[in-house]
Symmetry: C2
Amino acid sequence: MSDINTYFQVHAQEFEKDLCTLLRIPSVSTDAERKPDMQACAQEVVRQLLQAGMEEARIMPTGGHPAVFATSKPRPGRPTVLVYGHYDVQPETPLELWESPPFQPTVRDGKIYARGTTDDKGQFLIHLKAAQALNAIHGELPVNLKFILEGEEEIGSPNLPAFIEENKDLLACDVLVISDTGMYAPGIPSLLYGLRGLSYLEVEVKGADGDLHSGIFGGAVPNPALELCRILTALKGPDGRILVPGFYDKVRDLSPEERAEWATLPFDEEEFRNSVGCQGLSGEAGFTTLERRWARPTLDVNGFLSGFTGEGVKTVLPGKAMAKISCRLVPDQDPEEIAHLVEKEILRLAPDTVEVKVRYHHGGRPWMTDPTHPVLEAAGRAAEKAWGRTPVRVREGGSIPIVSTFCRILEVPAVLLGIGLADENAHAPNEHLDLGNFHAGIRASAWLMEELAAQAAAK
Amino acid sequence: MSDINTYFQVHAQEFEKDLCTLLRIPSVSTDAERKPDMQACAQEVVRQLLQAGMEEARIMPTGGHPAVFATSKPRPGRPTVLVYGHYDVQPETPLELWESPPFQPTVRDGKIYARGTTDDKGQFLIHLKAAQALNAIHGELPVNLKFILEGEEEIGSPNLPAFIEENKDLLACDVLVISDTGMYAPGIPSLLYGLRGLSYLEVEVKGADGDLHSGIFGGAVPNPALELCRILTALKGPDGRILVPGFYDKVRDLSPEERAEWATLPFDEEEFRNSVGCQGLSGEAGFTTLERRWARPTLDVNGFLSGFTGEGVKTVLPGKAMAKISCRLVPDQDPEEIAHLVEKEILRLAPDTVEVKVRYHHGGRPWMTDPTHPVLEAAGRAAEKAWGRTPVRVREGGSIPIVSTFCRILEVPAVLLGIGLADENAHAPNEHLDLGNFHAGIRASAWLMEELAAQAAAK
């Protein structure tokens, strides 16, 4: 432990310098004109991986922007850790809102400002620099370490699932480690062990062939907007309980331990309510706000369109109404199965005066590593050393479909050690990263490798 | 009767010629560049009124396009009939869909094609030509006849209510006669004695301050789209009955006579359903389709907008949801009172987790002349002579706010003797009018004046 701390006192500046080199490359994956920058960024990542002592680092083609793969010299008997991250970044617009140029990293108040600092260059780099430190100190790594760093995360990772499937053996590992999320709160290291999945549908209700005069036809011709309201209302009770038969059948209950642990998290309901600006919070009866957001499935209307929606007045009886609805899913719900159940219930509720069509857009599986899994214990000890306090074990309500894809194909647990903070403006102007968390993250990653090695050796 | 028929055989062509003169003037009220045409049209109307033997005819200014007023030589003791119509027309676009130019009247198959034929130049002209015929035959009219022909009907008559109020004495009469609507079906003369009113509102439901990530916040933050669905659903039962307390309190019941008469009207439910293209008809339980459209109030959603409504997928939890809703009203419902009741119920239904605002856009009173009123009997006899069959007495579901404004301010009954047909393309390309109905309409108007005079004399 002291070796690592000592090494850090000497090399911290150098690590920041390497981070800046990465941040200067505008690797915006969505911008076709920046393809050369994407290539240059991938090359710089390869250079830093080799500099960190990885035995092999190379650019691998995908159907889109290339991925970077690296591996340390394989040593039998040691556990294999796969680090996933992404070197592409969000577009920098609107430029005028940046206090310093997005691709000129600038340090202010112990924070480094640039596009990609917290999402995700500054985060995946902690594992690379941890490897560099361990290699420098010990001449080797305590684990077999692999990296897979993609260039298409900000455009939805369209090619990654096929890539993982095709390179299953190359990516084989014992545990997946990702730093691309946030800490629960400043100063509180966080281990994220669960994410919700998604099932997204669109419903269209058709009445008449087109919009009609509401005076001439109103009262005798079905109103598709009102019929759609009636259907959507019937999908969820006023107590927040989803009324689709079978919806909760595969929902894994929150364990008493999880509920107890989450209850100790600093969370101010009133502050949360204020931050979103709503008059009151609501949700499924019998659960706290955190439980509702992290561990309970939802059914939300994401969009609704029917008839005349401009300024003023138009007396139309709409011909059609459309709603986008989606469910956030929790283990062990299956996106397609839920889509099917919701569709079935919608069609059952539909009156025979209107035509109702349901379309399944897409879905993503929920993901969860058992919070008592040994890799989480190892990560917990490592994070505690780095930040000086026991990390909290949390879930999140959003979906990162690639996590469950990795875990499912490679059949491994994952630990998500995020070092970002909620106010660090990921995807927004003035994106930044706390340098204290950057350095703590590198140490945490180094100790995590040591912990995982010790755990494997003890078996 | 034979005098009038004889006169017609001689002058039919001449009447059509005068109609064509009016139709050639592109009096499009919505088009600022056609202000001179509006003026020219008003002048031509004045010319024809004087030619028809009216004692006085003049252009009167309003806040917008002028109105034309005319009166016959007053003869004490005779009933006064006020004819309302409008000389402005809808825009002629899209021009390429017209088979003959919109302002070059063309006769094909006994129908005259041009913008304004059925709406409303060809309709109001029947009363003018009836006066001309009666004056020619008898040297005088059996009634005191007044005309008020406005130039802003197609833009919503913004200045007419104030004009009526200000010219109450000038417009004073015993009965209002309007030809600006349709016949129930070809060959079936129709007396329209009721129109629905309107009360139009907009509801906004606000949850969070903006759209949120549905994964991070979904399940704990209220969904305004779903809350609005819940509110709207609760306003109307699945049986089509409106659940707003007090909503039906002032609804005048359909009389057994009306129901019986309407039941004899030729109406094919299946043909109607097919014409609107909906899978099934629906409405308030216990009423027929015609009753639902003509004599029962409604509550319809005219528009609904919330969240993401583009192509594909966006996982937002909307911050706001908006719906336009309106009620068609029947006698004796009051638009503002109904707006107030609906608003009150919406606010009562709103959960305290969201902010709900209701805005009253505007309304219009329902209108009805008792179907057994003597003026309707007189009109019935006149129409029967002209078309050779007893007219049907009907209501309509739409609103013509100006009718109730006239009747309320002048305190008179009205009879709406429409000679248009549903397929004559009012407001659309290839607008036309059946010349048989035009000529029958002139005779009907002449006989109506004689009937009203006889009725007054018999008192």
